[in-house]
Symmetry: C2
Subunit: 242 residues, 2 copies
């Protein structure tokens, strides 16, 4: 049967990719993806034909991948991080309703929340929420409600898309909402350029995070009431008795 | 400097492991872990010395890993899935306060939430919560509060440890709480034995999930109000206009 793969390539470097993802990329005749991610693959998989579309042309990108697969070419849609967490897997299923003859296989990968957590130490050691601050596809009221609920129930929170050129003050707004339920000295972290050139991290309080700089290559972590700093890292205990 | 790695091995099969994890296991003289996970590694890495402790002896397991590293042996602590999501990374930092001479490096992996999602389709396509139903280390009241908040704010929810021999009715209790805010026809999924022998999945409604069977090898997904079934799979749209 004709087949299209939706593959999570991990947060950046080849070494954070799963063996399965590497096998799929190596076996595919066509790799489709967002321009920036495709550039990361071209060197390692020079034999494939690449299809790219810029941001905001995700539906078109999916159609091109299905068209390629429908022509009988083994095709992969590449996603940064995981294939499903704010990735293309969902949209591929939606667009795939038009292509019942093409089978879809999703290949998971290390999402930014996990990759960045490993850099920070162990911030995600207990129940957690992942929330995107991007309001391109989600009303800001929904995002606000989720932030407030997550803070009230003392989840560890990981924020994707904390800021962009057009949304400079979103992280500040988010922190103000979280501070309704989380104290200003809650341990927080920012990781920039996870597993890529220029990777860096910062540990700070929620009060400091409110005025911190973040961009679209940052992932942000807000601890629960037990999160602490150990050996200069952000650690959320699971609750074991030492 | 002396070093101990905390490594997520992915949900089960070798092919879901990252290249970095494989390199670390191949380079380590000693691999410590829970008995069941270590058995999955022994065949692929026969040259290592293995240290195992059973469940409930996690602190001792961490001490043994640090003692091994402190003796100058390259040592890895293996975790199922990711190293940080209900894994050993946090406890390793806590125990590591006694071993300042040993550096800690965390290697992330594909956690069950992501591995199972790929099997189900694309259930985690929007903001999500991960909650463990195990009350061994967390008061049940805290778990209840988190379930209620997550449902009220329309998160997609992934449940770890949905049941065990001693906690047969926990999934039922959780579903009853979620049904305060999520309708009984909310699309849900269960994946069993992710990326292992006997892998299977089931898509059902929240009302059906309440009476479904789950065990400690199951991961459970509860959709948000937009989650739907496409081509027999569980899909949560991100919100793109088709």
């Amino acid at each position: 049967m004709k087949k299209v793969y939706v593959v999570g390539m991990g947060p950046g470097s080849q070494e954070q990719m799963t063996e399965k993802a590497r096998e799929v990329f190596a076996s595919c005749e066509v790799i489709a993806g967002y321009t920036v991610y495709v550039e990361l693959l071209k060197e390692a998989y020079p034999g494939a034909e690449y299809i790219t579309t810029p941001m905001r042309q995700e539906v078109e990108r999916c159609r091109l991948a299905f068209e390629s697969a429908a022509e009988g070419k083994t095709t992969a849609m590449v996603c940064s991080g995981d294939a499903g967490i704010y990735g293309m897997a969902g949209l591929m299923y939606e667009v795939g309703e038009e292509y019942p003859q093409v089978e879809i296989e999703v290949v998971p990968g290390v999402t930014a929340a996990l990759g960045g957590a490993a850099v920070l130490g162990a911030p995600l050691g207990h129940d957690l929420c992942i929330i995107s601050l991007s309001d391109l596809l989600t009303p800001w009221e929904t995002i606000e409600k989720r932030l407030l609920s997550a803070a009230a129930a003392d989840f560890v929170i990981c924020l994707y898309n904390p800021a962009s050129r057009k949304r400079k003050d979103y992280l500040k707004k988010a922190c103000e909402i979280l501070m309704n339920h989380k104290p200003a000295d809650t341990v927080c972290g920012i990781v920039r350029n996870i597993a890529r050139k220029g990777e860096s991290f910062q540990i700070l309080t929620l009060g400091e995070l409110k005025d911190a700089e973040a961009d679209m290559f940052s992932t942000v972590y807000i601890g629960n009431h037990e999160t602490k700093v150990i050996r200069g890292r952000m650690v959320t205990p699971r609750g074991y008795q030492l």
